[in-house]
């Protein structure tokens, strides 16, 4: 199993509640995936500044003076916000690659969760309610977000094996299912220059889509290509800076329910995840069709 939740807000009035709504949805999906949980939230983009979200198993040691050390390394001011085992570094967008490269020297044990204009990813091992509390997800604001509760099948229960996976700027993906040709696709993507942090099948799905986007494909075309090139079971929900997409494999045995109102588009592995959303009684509720790409962009 695994649980997926997603929310794309159309009504800006709901943006202050995005984290609270996603937290409630995520906790409802605990019995689909109690191993680990994660959330990607898009919001708070500032002109010229990017966010680098990093994680450490030893945050007291690794995050101590990291902002100062990073300032020194890239020659630009850096601000840092620490949240438990994660920290969000605000760096000039044009220095993002320099900052990532500096990080690998300054703090070799620190892992990058995400990088981009507006994305922040928080994920850890543990029950969804504990993970959400640890990062205070309920207080987060934003325009759209994706969450995942994991029941591991394909690789170990670790922080890096939790979802969402981010393999491109402002991109992320969560997955319910398992891919069977991920080793072959990973080899091909490595040859094309993509890099991987884990042996996880979902990371391959994420990198596959990121690679398509890098070569100039639209989100819709990138999702369409998963249907021909990825083998296995999948319900994918992907996030980009402006959008939110959904695709299910042709067999479609992994569940998916969507709801749309004038205020939002919501995704849940089960209807239970959606029952507390405002106006759900009058929402258009449907199951996404197999082998059909859906996406919303602002």
């Amino acid at each position: 199993m695994c649980g997926i939740v997603g929310l794309f807000l159309k009504d800006p009035k709901l943006e202050p509640q995005l984290g609270a709504m996603l937290t409630d949805m995520l906790i409802t999906m605990t019995d689909r995936g109690p191993d680990s949980a994660g959330i990607a939230i898009y919001g708070g983009a500032k002109d010229g500044l990017g966010k680098l979200t990093v994680q450490s198993a030893h945050p007291e040691k690794d995050f101590k003076d990291l902002d100062g050390d990073m300032h020194h390394a890239i020659g630009q001011p850096v601000t840092m916000k620490i949240k438990s085992s994660h920290a969000v570094l605000e760096v000039p967008m044009d220095q993002m690659e320099a900052a990532r490269s500096a990080l690998s020297h300054l703090r070799p044990g620190v892992k990058v969760m995400s990088a981009g204009d507006s994305i922040e990813i928080f994920k850890e091992v543990g029950l969804p309610k504990d993970v959400a509390a640890r990062f205070d997800v309920a207080k987060m604001k934003g325009t759209h977000g994706i969450g995942h509760t994991r029941l591991a099948t394909e690789s170990a229960v670790t922080t890096m094996g939790a979802h969402p996976f981010s393999t491109g700027s402002d991109q992320c993906l969560v997955h319910n299912g398992s891919l069977s040709n991920h080793n072959g696709v990973r080899r091909e993507l490595k040859r094309l220059g993509m890099t991987f942090e884990t042996e996880n099948d979902t990371e391959v799905g994420a990198a596959f889509i990121s690679h398509k986007l890098q070569t100039g494909e639209t989100l819709g075309n990138a999702l369409e290509a998963t249907l021909t090139d990825l083998d296995g079971f999948f319900t994918f929900v992907v996030g980009t800076k402006n959008g939110f997409g959904v695709v299910r494999d042709p067999i479609a045995c992994k569940p998916a329910v969507m709801a749309e109102t004038d205020q939002y588009v919501a995704f849940g592995s089960e209807y239970r995840a959606l029952v507390n959303l405002p106006g759900i009684e009058d929402a258009r509720v449907w199951e996404p069709e197999p082998a059909t790409v859906y996406f919303w962009e602002r």
Binding site: A252, P255, V257, E270, Y271, R272, L274, V275, E287, P290
Partner: protein, 229 residues
């Protein structure tokens, strides 16, 4: 009328109250409020009672039902009425995957659409869908009747045994060993009855349907065993 607030009292309390009803009972009318997509609502009931669920349900609502009439005033999640033995289940909205799977008897009515694998491995249940059904429906269906007023998705009736499939609209594709068969007077009579019991007699006429069944090439059909189906 026994009214049960699932949000307040919880699923175990509901199902143990329903399981305690044996044979004839005075408490024949039940209402479940605040279902909020919970799993296994009114699963395993074995009494001639009438249960109305006011809202949408999660996995396996009305599973293994015997005798009861269960109405869902919303949509149903995966596996609704799975392995039903007898009784009636009526869904006002849509049904998710494998509705009525492995059902051995009784009647399942879906007033909206059903998604994939509707009636998979059905073994005697009757299913009437007012809308359309998804792919791989009636896969390995052994006996019973599946009636669809709308369209059917890919691979209808793949590896079919002796279930009868009636579809009014289009069939995207037929599965292995499933073929169209002629509609004889006994099929018209059967459909007339099923449409009436499935609350669909005002919506469609039996003559508008096509019948699909097994070509009997994939499994070892023996005419001497025909009465067993």
């Amino acid at each position: 009328m026994q009214s049960f607030d699932l949000g307040q009292e919880g699923l175990r309390a509901l199902n143990s109250s329903l399981h305690a009803l044996k044979g004839q009972t005075n408490m024949t009318a039940w209402e479940v409020i605040n279902p909020k997509g919970a799993h296994a609502i009114a699963a395993g009931v074995d009494a001639p009672v009438d249960i109305t669920v006011r809202g949408s349900t999660g996995y396996y609502c009305a599973g293994m039902n015997k005798q009861a009439t269960i109405r869902i005033k919303g949509s149903a999640g995966p596996g609704v009425a799975e392995n039903m033995m007898s009784g009636t289940v009526i869904i006002d909205g849509n049904a998710s995957q494998y509705a009525g799977a492995t059902g051995r008897g009784g009647l399942l009515v879906i007033k909206g659409n059903a998604s994939s694998r509707c009636g998979v491995s059905m073994k005697g249940i009757d299913i009437v869908v007012h809308g359309s059904i998804g792919h791989m429906s009636a896969f390995m269906a052994q006996s019973g009747n599946l009636v669809v007023l709308g369209d059917a998705g890919d691979a209808l009736g793949d590896s079919l045994y002796e279930a009868r499939l009636f579809v009014r609209g289009s069939v995207k594709s037929l599965g292995a060993d499933c073929i169209e068969k002629e509609m004889r007077p006994e099929h018209i009579a059967l459909l007339t009855d099923l449409l009436k019991r499935g609350e669909a007699d005002g919506k469609a006429k039996p003559e508008e349907f096509k019948r699909y069944g097994s070509a009997r090439k994939l499994y070892n059909f023996n005419i001497d065993n025909a009465s067993a189906y």
